[in-house]
Symmetry: C2
Subunit: 238 residues, 2 copies
């Protein structure tokens, strides 16, 4: 999926947790990063990286996921890539790299990414900005957002993160979320400002809070397995 002369973005789906994984690479140098890789699709992702002759430098997890186990540790071990996570994430991953708010990381001449701290879904949530493409994790979903009732989640923090850090980006910014359950793959900041039923500009914080407090969600099915595993960047004994 070539978006520009300089970089390509390959969006991938893991169906058990409805997670989107992204491989982003420099078209010329083939230097690459992967965002939110999933254990279940490790073999597929390794195959694609190999077929495209990519050099994987970074595995970035937008936060400590509660619904699936990351494959960052395996990809890092297999391909020598660094693991990047918010510096707010409490992890025991050996040599993972803590990313600070607004930190920019240069991967190659044409590929750099910026980490934007966006607490709310979890205390360690962040987004990744690459040119005009925004990988929003669970902070901003297409016409939705991540839940706020676990992992030091906070309605106020999520609302402020989206409004003050994401909605200030140009309307044309492409939103690539970590999940979707309706077969939609992308959105834009402009669309979400207008059509996101929770976070659209015409909603006040109290509108948002009322929606979030009445979601009646069930206990996250995999949290007790996924969270401890993800604190080790997916390093699990088999």
């Amino acid at each position: 999926m070539v978006f520009s002369k300089d970089i390509s973005i390959r969006q991938l789906f893991e169906k058990e947790s409805s997670t989107y994984t992204y491989i982003v690479y420099d078209n010329k140098s083939l230097d690459a990063i992967i965002i939110d890789p999933v254990k279940e699709t490790l073999e597929r992702d390794l195959r694609i990286i190999q077929e495209l002759d990519l050099k994987l430098h970074w595995c970035v997890d937008t936060h400590l996921h509660a619904d699936h186990i990351t494959s960052s540790h395996s990809l890092s071990e297999e391909l020598g890539a660094k693991i990047g996570l918010s510096n707010k994430a409490v992890v025991d991953c050996g040599d993972s790299v803590p990313l600070a708010h607004n930190e920019s990381v240069k991967v190659s001449d044409k590929l750099s990414f910026k980490f934007i701290e966006t607490p709310g879904h979890t205390n360690c949530s962040g987004c990744v900005l690459i040119d005009e493409y925004l990988f929003t994790g669970d902070t901003l979903l297409i016409r939705g957002c991540g839940r706020t009732d676990f992992q030091e989640g906070s309605n106020k923090s999520l609302f402020d993160s989206v409004r003050d850090k994401l909605f200030i980006l140009p309307d044309e910014t492409i939103v690539f979320p970590a999940h979707n359950y309706k077969g939609e793959m992308t959105s834009t900041i402009g669309e979400e400002k207008k059509h996101n039923p929770r976070l659209k500009l015409t909603n006040s914080f109290s509108d948002f809070e009322e929606i979030m407090n009445n979601l009646n969600l069930s206990y996250p099915a995999k949290i007790d397995i996924a969270l401890p595993a993800n604190r080790k960047c997916g390093k699990v004994s088999h």
Copy 2:
């Protein structure tokens, strides 16, 4: 999902039949077409068309699908769009428009599509080319292709269609298939020439034929419902 200054492509997924639907539109005029829309996701697609303020002019079905019922008739009825299908398709759809091989259709100043007849999966299969984006239906899938054992399918026709009509396009051409079952969304002509296990350039026709003759696929579960419905462009009594 903005690909260029001129047009946007929105890729959408219908999970029951693992079908990709595409909405393609002119960024400025908002004139739009939809490719391979599915009955089950009609409401979602109508919502997106409405939210994006699109003017839908065409519903194009790449062939008479056997695994799902098209929503072309409903979209056409609801929004006044024309229905486009290969002129090889035997249909009873009222005013559907038969598309000839290599026919180009202008939708707006910046958006035109070309229909490329590619028999093989079915006798009425075709692909849609828009700029450097190729919507391949079931003719060419990511690392695969459609089956050839129903609907006047033919190994020889499919092989020739792919090799003589698709693989002559530039390697950078983006492949947008009608299906994928592994969470992959796009490929390129260059990749498929190299990595498609059935159709890669190093395979002869007899290699391909041997693979296709040994797929041992089961009878298409929905063919007896979907095919008669799709011969009416999805017009079914409820």
